[in-house]
Each structure stands twice: as structure tokens, then as C-alpha cells.
């Protein structure tokens, strides 16, 4: 009886689902190969009936989750938190449980998870885009170093002694959720402030920058100190300060001056206090007391911009525009972004002045962004850290390491500053190399110890991220390449579809044998895929990795291993076949929108400094639509993010909307 009623209700649900799919507004049909074809054809009512309702139904429903109550899409999307939990458990393969009588195939699980995710995100977008949380966070280690450098105009990295930060959210170390503070931070900040100021006070050039007044016959030490703090405090706190905010620092100055009668000593003392103040160490935005979302303040926006695109504090010009209250003006905002990226959109007069005054400052700052983003996205930060190859794989010296490390950074920086197509990431006719890396790649031309731009000839076997030695190295074992690791890397990093973890108690794939020749490695992998449990993921993973077998651990080109020719053919689950890196590039270019969508989500997560929510994917989708219409030009991506609701607004504090804004995706909450 109960069952039949549910089936009836679920039929209603299925009709609603079909109609929702039919009238997705403003969504052009995708001409490309979809990521998971099963998701399109997913039959939610059938899945629920078959795999869920046996346990989750009625008053005795497991975990008090009665799925029979969800008789329409409206009811599902009305409880996003519940369905986010369900999503996580299905995505993790924890539900439906493996020990159940009938269990879905991995494809079907993935399809179910994708369906839930799409449904929730779709609903979130239909409600209009909300900004999502804007949590307070401290400067991370590199932001700290860069900010001190800018503030004091010194050329040392004051953040060097701080503990390294971990990553959260979309995988970056600027994520608010993982920027915790340990007791060690207090003493490290004190130490760092002291040594940075010590350096700055002893450097005549730096002194001129921040020590804007010194006592003389017309100025008492205290007046001079007030002048200095007047200039310094707003820059350090990245906002205007009240008159009263100066007083405690002035009191510290006075105290130290009375003791030592030294202007320098007392001034340094007061400035140390500024640099360990939470107003300096944290990026603080005024809470929004309103129930409605509102634009962030001009100075807050200036900091959001500068930490996104430069990884440091705003410069004088950003402060000036913020002070004029113009930064939220879309046209001004756009000009500033282009200026920050090193492009030109300001008046000729301004440009000339800026050039004379500042030279290549912004280039270095944009590099900070390029490096921080790309190294964490690709995992190439491990070069010089965790990646330590065996001697047997070839000579790996510091010049090669440097070349490998900076290739993707400078490459991405050029894409961003020159407004190039993001599809260069998949295939390009240029890259960056130093002398050692150029030799490694067998590229002809004049190269030096510093990396420079390199035009790639047709037959270079390079171009795009997948031809970069750094990428190929960090997706290898220290002593040999692994099609599985590289395939997983492509799925996770480029396509944004990480395979689920292997089921428990299933042994790792046996691919590793001493002296195994490549042919038998392939055979072994194929054999392994004849096991359906393994095949469901490895049929997606392995072929992608085989396409890269022509690159060795250090990314050098090879055509044979141990006298056996390399077989770099791959066949994807949908029957597509390809060969070698060039073939793989075509496979990925055929999925370019998926690649670009993944990249957009990563850059948005980086810009916001937090993990993305369902609502944020509306922003991602809008930006991807714009990118499609603009030849995937990088500025469309950056400007799309900067002009987006989550970047320019802060959420309201209405309790209802607060709930809607705090549920994360892909996160486990105990039932």
C-alpha cells in the first residue's frame, strides 16, 4: 500500500523533472560531448524506488529521512541542506550502501549525484544570485609577506618565518575556512614585524616611503609621530581610520620615547604594534546589519580586488578611487581591473604618468596571482617541496626545477595580462622556458638562465599545460610514470571530475612491477579493467594517462622505453579513440566548456577565498556563457568574477537567508 502510493507520487515527481529540464531558461543546447552521458538520462523516481525507499520511507525511515515525502522537485529544492547531505553520501559511495541487496553501478551513482547537484544548483539560480558568505580571514603567509613589502617598500619576504598555510575550499591557501591561528602565530608575527621594521628603518629608500615626518625645530617628536601614523595607519589597515584610532599607538610612542629619548626607537615600537594589530593581520569587512545583501564598501572592494589580482594590499590609485567612492561604478571597476592586470584602459595622460612613476610594478604583482593560483591548481607547488625524483629518471638540477616551476606561471600570466584565450591552457603555440628547460624540450633558440617566451614549432610535442614538464612530473611517481596518476590528474584538475576513491578492501591497481615493460603494463591495466568494479572508474582514468606516456617522469619526450615502442593510444568509455598528446588535446578541446567551467569555478573560489556554494555555480555558469561568446578571452573571466554578485556584495544577516547561504557542497555532515 505504502509502496504503491509512493510510486504514484514519484511519477508526479518524474513529470515535474522532465518539464523542468525542458524549459531551462536561456540555456543554449550543448553541442559538445557531455561529461557523463548517464546524467542526462537519469531517472530519479526509478533510482529512489529501486535503491533508497526500502530503508528511507515512512515513520520507520532510517536516519529519520523519509524520501517518500519528496513528491515534487519543489519539495526537494525547498530542503537544500538535506539534499546536500544526501548528495555527499551518494557522491562518496556511502549511500546506497554496498551491502544492500541491489546496488547501483558506479555510473548510476555518479548520475544520481550529478542529478541532485544540478537540481539544487538550478533552483538556487532561479532564486536570483545571492552573494554567499564573506568570512573574515587573516592574510596568509604569502599575502602577509607581499603586504609588508608594499607597505614598507622593502625587498625582503617578511612572511618567510611564518608557518605554511594549508588549503581549503577550492584548494587554495587563501580559503578562510582553513586559515586558522595557532599560538605560534603570535610570536611569529611579533618577530616578523620587528625584523621587517628593523630592515625598513635602516634602509634610506624605505624610510622615505613610510617615515613621512621626523622631528625638527618646528616639529616635536610627538607631532612627527602623529604625522607618520596619520599616513601609515590607513595604509596598514587598508581603510580610513578615525581620529581616536591613532591614540593607542601614539601612547605607545610616548611611552617608548620617554624611556629612550630616541625617535627611531619609539616610532619603530609604535609601528610594531600596528603590524601585530588584528586590523592589519586580518581582512576585516564591516558586518552587514541589514537583512538584504548589499554592496561592499569601496575600501573593502579595493582590498578584495588587490588580494585577488595582486595578492597584496591596494596601491595608492586604488585607495584614491575608493576614496572618491567610484569603485563600485562598473566602468571604473573595469578600468581598474585592466590597469591592475597591466593592460591599458585609462587616459593617455594617466598612463604616461603611471608609466613614468611605476614602471613594471604591476607585472610583479600579477605574477604573485599567477603563481599562487596556478601552482596550487596544478599542484606544481610540489616542485621544490614534495617532488623528489629518483636519480635513475635523469638529471634534475635546480635550473631545471626552476624552469619547470616557472613555465606554467609565466604562461598563465601572459594569458591573463594579454587577454588571450583560455583555451591556450589546452593547446598553445608558445610557452616559457629557461636555457635548461629549452634543452630539455629540444627547442632551438637563444635562452638564458631566466625563463623567457618561446615560440613552439608545429612538431614540438608541447603547447598547453599537458606538455609542461612540471605538470608531468608532479603526476608521476618518483621513479616512473603512471598512466593511472596522470589520468586521475587530468580528470581532477582539468575536467573537475575527480574519480571516487577506490572501494574499501579492493587492492590498489597492480601496475607496479620492477622491470615491467610498458607493453605488459598496458596489458595488466587492461586485465584489471576486465573486473567490472575496477573498470567503472579505470576505464575513464587509464586511457587519459596512456595518452601522456610519451613523456617521461621529468616530461622529456620519448618514443620507446627499454627498447619497446610507446603505445599511447587510448579508448574512452564512449568509444572515442585517440593517440598521444595531440589526440588527447583534441579530446579535451571537444570538452572545452567543461574545462573552462572547472577553471572558472577554481578562479572564483580563489577570488572569494572560500569553497563555492550552490548559488556560486550560477555565477560560474553565467561567466562560462559569456566566455563562449567572447572567444574564451581571459579578461572576460576576470571581469566576470569581479563584477559578480558574490565578489561585489556581502550577504544580509536575515536568519532565513543566512541558512541558505551557509550550506556548502561536497561536505559531510553527520546524519
Amino acid at each position: 500500500m505504502l509502496r504503491s502510493r509512493s510510486v504514484y507520487l514519484l511519477t508526479v515527481l518524474s513529470l515535474t523533472a522532465a518539464s523542468l529540464r525542458a524549459d531551462e531558461p536561456g540555456r543554449p543546447p550543448e553541442p559538445e560531448a557531455p561529461a557523463v552521458s548517464a546524467a542526462e538520462a537519469f531517472d530519479a523516481p526509478e533510482f529512489l524506488t529501486q535503491y533508497c525507499l526500502d530503508c528511507h520511507q515512512g515513520i520507520v525511515a532510517e536516519a529519520e529521512l523519509d524520501l517518500a515525502e519528496f513528491t515534487s522537485l519543489e519539495k526537494i529544492v525547498a530542503e537544500p541542506e538535506t539534499w546536500n547531505k544526501i548528495l555527499t553520501r551518494v557522491r562518496n559511495g556511502e549511500m546506497p550502501p554496498l551491502e544492500a541487496e541491489s546496488t547501483p553501478t558506479t555510473e548510476l551513482r555518479v548520475a544520481a549525484a550529478d542529478w541532485i547537484e544540478t537540481t539544487l544548483r538550478q533552483a538556487a539560480c532561479d532564486d536570483g544570485i545571492s552573494p554567499g558568505p564573506a568570512p573574515l580571514r587573516r592574510l596568509n603567509r604569502s599575502e602577509y609577506g607581499a603586504t609588508i613589502r608594499e607597505l614598507l617598500d622593502i625587498h625582503v619576504d617578511a612572511g618567510q618565518g611564518l608557518p605554511v598555510d594549508g588549503a581549503g575550499g577550492e584548494g587554495f591557501d587563501n580559503a578562510a575556512e582553513t586559515l586558522f591561528i595557532s599560538p605560534i602565530h603570535a610570536e611569529k608575527y611579533l618577530e616578523a614585524a620587528r625584523s621587517a621594521l628593523g630592515y625598513a628603518f635602516s634602509d634610506p629608500r624605505a624610510r622615505r616611503r613610510f617615515l613621512t615626518a621626523e622631528p625638527d625645530e618646528d616639529t616635536t617628536p610627538e607631532e612627527a609621530a602623529r604625522d607618520v601614523l596619520d599616513e601609515f595607519l590607513p595604509r596598514a589597515f587598508r581603510r580610513p581610520v578615525d581620529e581616536g584610532e591613532l591614540d593607542p599607538y601614539l601612547a605607545l610612542f610616548r611611552n617608548a620615547y620617554e624611556r629612550d629619548q630616541s625617535y627611531d626607537v619609539a616610532m619603530q615600537f609604535a609601528l610594531e604594534a600596528v603590524l601585530i594589530s588584528p586590523h592589519f593581520l586580518f581582512r576585516i569587512e564591516a558586518p552587514n546589519p541589514d537583512s538584504q545583501q548589499r554592496l561592499v564598501g569601496d575600501f573593502e572592494l579595493a582590498s578584495r580586488l588587490s588580494y585577488f589580482l595582486w595578492g597584496t594590499m591596494p596601491d595608492d590609485e586604488l585607495f584614491r578611487v575608493a576614496e572618491q567612492g567610484k569603485l563600485q561604478d562598473e566602468e571604473v571597476l573595469q578600468q581598474q581591473v585592466i590597469r591592475m592586470l597591466g593592460g591599458e584602459s585609462e587616459s593617455d595622460e594617466d598612463r604616461g604618468r603611471r608609466r613614468r612613476r611605476r614602471g613594471n610594478d604591476n607585472e610583479e604583482k600579477v605574477r604573485q596571482f599567477a603563481q599562487s593560483f596556478i601552482e596550487q591548481w596544478l599542484g606544481t607547488r610540489e616542485l621544490g617541496r614534495g617532488f623528489k625524483p629518483d636519480e635513475s629518471v635523469g638529471r634534475y638540477d635546480s635550473e631545471l626545477e626552476g624552469g619547470m616551476k616557472y613555465e606554467p606561471v609565466l604562461f598563465f600570466q601572459e594569458i591573463v595580462t594579454e587577454n588571450l584565450s583560455l583555451l591556450n591552457l589546452l593547446d598553445s603555440d608558445f610557452t616559457y622556458a629557461n636555457r635548461r628547460l629549452a634543452r630539455h624540450y629540444r627547442i632551438r633558440g637563444e635562452f638564458r638562465e631566466q625563463p623567457s617566451r618561446a615560440e613552439l614549432p608545429e612538431d614540438s610535442n608541447r603547447g598547453g599545460l599537458l606538455g609542461m614538464a612540471g605538470v608531468l612530473a608532479v603526476s608521476s611517481y618518483p621513479h616512473r610514470t603512471s598512466p593511472v596518476l596522470r589520468g586521475k590528474w587530468v580528470l581532477e584538475t582539468i575536467l573537475g571530475t575527480p574519480p571516487p576513491p577506490p572501494p574499501p578492501d579492493v587492492p590498489e591497481l597492480e601496475e607496479d612491477h620492477e622491470g615491467l615493460d610498458p607493453q605488459s603494463l598496458r596489458e595488466r591495466l587492461e586485465q584489471h579493467r576486465s573486473n567490472p568494479t575496477c573498470a567503472s572508474c579505470h576505464s575513464r582514468i587509464d586511457p587519459l594517462g596512456f595518452g601522456l606516456e610519451n613523456y617521461d617522469v621529468l616530461g622529456r619526450w620519448r618514443t620507446e622505453v627499454d627498447d619497446q615502442p610507446i603505445d599511447s593510444r587510448g579508448e574512452l568509455p564512449d568509444g572515442t579513440t585517440f593517440e598521444g598528446p595531440e589526440g588527447l588535446k583534441q579530446v579535451l578541446l571537444a570538452r572545452k566548456d567543461q574545462v573552462v567551467r572547472n577553471l572558472t569555478a577554481k578562479v572564483l573560489g580563489y577570488a572569494l577565498g572560500r569553497g563555492l556554494t550552490n548559488e556560486d555555480y550560477c555565477t560560474v555558469d553565467n561567466i562560462v556563457d559569456e566566455l563562449k561568446q567572447n572567444d574564451y578571452a581571459s579578461h572576460t573571466l576576470i571581469l566576470g568574477i569581479v563584477k559578480s554578485v558574490p565578489f561585489r556584495y556581502k550577504p544580509g544577516t536575515d536568519p532565513d537567508s543566512a541558512v541558505a547561504h551557509t550550506h556548502p557542497t561536497r561536505q559531510e555532515v553527520s546524519p
Binding site: 605554511v164 581549503g168 593607542p248 586580518f282 614534495g386
Partner: protein, 451 residues
């Protein structure tokens, strides 16, 4: 639950409740009055506690010693400990139930000393749902040492989040948790550790007084600020407040010469300063870090330290060992292949050698009638037994040192299958002079461990 000096229910603490606990909890815990471990005079050396965490498990078949009790025979992997055999406690069949969930590594690292199940997350709601055993010891002892504890490692926090299994790698890089949402950052540069020990141990009274003025100003700023923030944001500012406050307490102790004044038991020798850069040679790096623990204990700069040989899933390249080719994690997935097992065993044994190095080093440091080792307990272990199966049953755990005679060393003790690891922690906390009735899923002390 009615121990003197324990203002709130410990159960509440151990169960944890994330953000709700943040600062009020810490305030309520307060600096406990001097307890059992605290009365230390020159004649009665203090007890120290260290934990050495090894990632990726061990070669299981060559780990467990033959025979139990006092007549045990060291296994091939434990053989490097032969010179200190009578100062060892080898423990078999302990397990960590809280970490029997989630994935193969992260939960087994973050939960190693907490015996809890961590939240599965890429970042939001990061929570270990407990406090680690070492930090409970710190909080409860209230020892007047310059540093409450010393967290060390060799690798920086691993980059990124693991979307494959759905955990932030922050979890895999921390074993010490001072609260449910407070992993403790580690120092990995030996020189910086040394300088920190040196600074902490020799505060110049005048400078300390000045620093206190600075910190007071920070505290004022932070207090004002937190009043203006929403609940969620307050937590971060509170963390900073707490960090500043503990630094201030240290300076306060340094400036108030009186009964509580701390004196180094053996002054740090500036000559022992390690090189400025982290050595590229992994073995040398590890030894320098262990030297720092030894110096910190000898000087009494701190009495609690944790050390991570590597982060979860560390693929440290062990090709520097004869007969080993490749990374630690990949070799630990041995699939029962003979050649890989052999390499895995060599790596396990190498870690034990480093453990022996620290024990011997402490054993050479004279203190009263004995050595620093006699007054220490150094636990060595991993959060999983076998790297191929990743399960937290029968964990590889050894303790070195006699904790001032409180540990019944010189034995191999084997317990009933799946005896809680937390029971060991109850016993170790007792030996440290900071007894608790219960820790996480403990069911009582571990019989035979205490002398």
C-alpha cells in the same frame, strides 16, 4: 568528573562542539593550578612527553616482537632499539575506533592522538571533534615552561584539498589539536626551532616588559574588534586573542621573578645552532629536528612535543636507502609483493632507527641520578598498521623512556583484540601527572603499563 581544579566536565571537552566551545571553553579551562607534574625542583626532574608520528603504516609481519612480557625478542623492524630494550614498552592489539571511517589516511592522522572521528570536509566545518592527548597534557599540567609545547615536522602542510576522498589536506598534516577546530601549526626549519627555543628561554626582562605593552595594545584592539563582529568571525579573532594571551603569559612569567620563575635546567648552547637552510638530505633534516626535541627537553624549554616524519600519504622518496626505489606511500601499497614488502620493511626500520637515535640522544643527557630519557616518554607509531589495507587495528605503537619510573618498561604487552588506543592515552596522561578518568572512547587505563 569531580577532580579538583577541573572546572568543567571533561566529557564536554572531549565530545567537542566546534565553534561553540571556542574561547569561553579555553577561559574556563584556564591555566590550571600547578598539579602533579608541576612540583619540580632541581632534585626532581620533570616528566616529558613526545610523540613521533610515522605516515603510511609499517611492514606488519616484521613488526610484532616474538614473545610477550619481559622476555620478548625484538622483531627485525624493532631491532635498531636493542641498546634501549629495557626502556621500551611495545604494545600490540591497540586500535583507534574513531579513525575507522572516512578514508585511508587523513582520518588516521588527525585522529591519531584525539581518538575521534574528524568531520569530512574540504574546509568548511573543519573539526576533529576532540583534543589531542598531548594538548590535554599541556592544558592540565599548566607547567611553567616557556613554551607550552613544541610541534614539529619535516614537510610543510600538504598543498591543496583531496577531492578524490573529500578531505582538506590540512587534516593529514596535523596530529596536535588544542581544540576541536584548532590544529597546531608546525615548525619544519630546525634553525627557526632553535631560535625560537633560544628566544623563549632567555627573555630579556626589559624587552619582555616592552613586548607586554605591545601585546596589551593588540588585546585591546582585538577585544574591541570582536564586539563588532558576527559570531562566526569572532572565532578567528578569538584564536588570535588566545595566541597573544599565551605569549603574554609567558612574558609575564619571565618578568615576575619569584617562585614561579622558570630557569633552564641546562642552558641552550648557541654553538649548537643548526644551519640556516633546511637540509636537502631527508635523513639529516629528521635528525636535526630530533636534536631540537632533545635540546628542548634537556633545557626544559618545553615538556611536550610532537613530531611528524611526514604528512598523510607522504610519498617521500626513500631511494637514499640501499635497496629502496621510490616513494613511501606507493611502496606502502605493496600488494603483498615480495620485493615491495622488502622495501617497505626497510623504510619502516629506518623510521625506527630515527626513533632509536632520539632515545639514545636523550639517554646521553645526564639529569640527576639518571638521564633525560629516564624522565621522558616518547611514543612512536602510525595511525594505520598496514599501508596496503589501511586499517587502524593492531596499530604499531612503541614507547621509549620510563617517565621518571612511572612506566613499566622492558616489556612487550599484547592486549585483547581491539583494545582502545585511548586506554593507552589514559595511562600516559596518568604517568605524565595529568590523570583523566576517560579519554575519547577509552574504557579504562591499559593494564601493565604503569609501574
Amino acid at each position: 568528573m569531580t577532580e579538583p581544579g577541573f572546572p568543567i566536565s571533561r566529557r564536554t571537552v572531549l565530545r567537542g562542539a566546534g565553534a561553540a566551545l571556542a574561547l569561553p571553553w579555553l577561559e574556563a579551562m584556564g591555566p590550571a593550578p600547578a598539579r602533579a607534574a608541576a612540583p619540580d625542583t632541581a632534585s626532581q626532574p620533570p616528566v616529558r612527553m613526545a610523540v613521533m608520528f610515522m605516515p603510511n603504516g609499517v611492514h606488519a609481519d616484521s613488526w610484532t616482537p616474538e614473545k610477550e612480557g619481559r622476555d620478548f625478542e625484538l622483531s627485525p623492524t624493532l631491532e635498531p632499539l636493542s641498546s634501549v630494550k629495557d626502556k621500551l614498552l611495545v604494545l600490540s592489539n591497540l586500535w583507534n575506533q574513531g579513525s575507522d571511517f572516512g578514508d585511508g589516511h587523513y582520518v588516521k592522522t588527525s585522529g591519531f592522538l584525539t581518538c575521534t572521528t574528524i568531520n569530512k570536509t574540504l574546509g568548511i566545518d573543519l573539526n576533529c571533534n576532540g583534543v589531542s592527548m598531548d594538548q590535554l597534557a599541556v592544558k592540565q599540567s599548566g607547567a611553567p615552561t616557556p613554551l607550552p609545547s613544541l610541534e614539529l615536522g619535516t614537510a610543510p602542510v600538504s598543498t591543496g584539498v583531496d577531492t578524490n576522498v573529500g578531505y582538506t589536506r590540512v587534516y593529514g598534516s596535523h596530529i596536535s589539536w588544542s581544540g576541536p577546530t584548532n590544529p597546531l601549526a608546525r615548525e619544519i626549519n630546525p634553525r627557526l626551532v632553535f631560535e625560537r627555543l633560544f628566544r623563549a628561554g632567555q627573555p630579556h626582562t626589559d624587552a619582555a616588559q616592552r613586548d607586554r605593552l605591545l601585546l596589551d595594545s593588540v588585546l585591546d584592539d582585538a577585544k574591541q574588534l570582536r564586539g563588532r563582529l558576527g559570531v562566526a568571525d569572532r572565532q578567528r579573532v578569538d584564536e588570535y586573542l588566545q595566541a597573544v594571551r599565551s605569549l603574554e603569559e609567558r612574558l609575564e612569567r619571565a618578568t615576575n621573578s619569584g617562585q614561579a620563575a622558570w630557569q633552564p635546567r641546562v642552558p641552550l648552547d648557541p654553538e649548537k645552532k643548526p644551519p640556516a637552510d633546511i637540509p636537502r638530505d631527508f635523513a639529516e633534516h629528521v635528525r636535526l629536528m630530533l636534536d631540537m626535541i632533545a635540546l628542548a627537553f634537556q633545557s626544559d624549554t618545553t615538556r611536550v612535543s610532537t613530531f611528524m616524519f611526514g604528512n598523510s600519504v607522504s610519498n617521500e622518496n626513500f631511494s637514499f636507502l640501499d635497496g629502496v626505489k621510490g616513494g613511501h606511500h606507493s611502496i606502502s601499497h605493496h600488494q603483498k609483493e615480495e620485493d615491495k614488502l622488502r622495501q617497505y620493511q626497510l623504510i619502516s626500520r629506518w623510521h625506527v632507527e630515527q626513533f632509536a637515535y632520539l632515545l639514545n640522544k636523550l639517554g646521553e643527557m645526564k639529569e640527576g641520578d639518571g638521564t633525560v630519557l629516564d624522565n621522558s616518554m616518547v611514543m612512536f607509531g602510525s595511525g594505520l598498521r598496514d599501508g596496503n589495507s589501511h586499517n587502524p587495528h593492531n596499530l604499531p605503537i612503541v614507547i621509549g623512556g620510563r617517565a621518571g619510573g612511572r612506566l613499566a618498561t622492558g616489556q612487550h604487552l599484547s592486549f585483547g583484540k581491539d583494545t582502545p588506543l585511548a586506554n593507552l592515552y589514559v595511562s600516559l596522561l596518568e604517568a605524565f601527572g595529568t590523570p583523566v578518568e576517560r579519554f575519547a572512547d577509552s574504557t579504562g587505563p591499559l593494564p601493565g603499563v604503569l609501574a
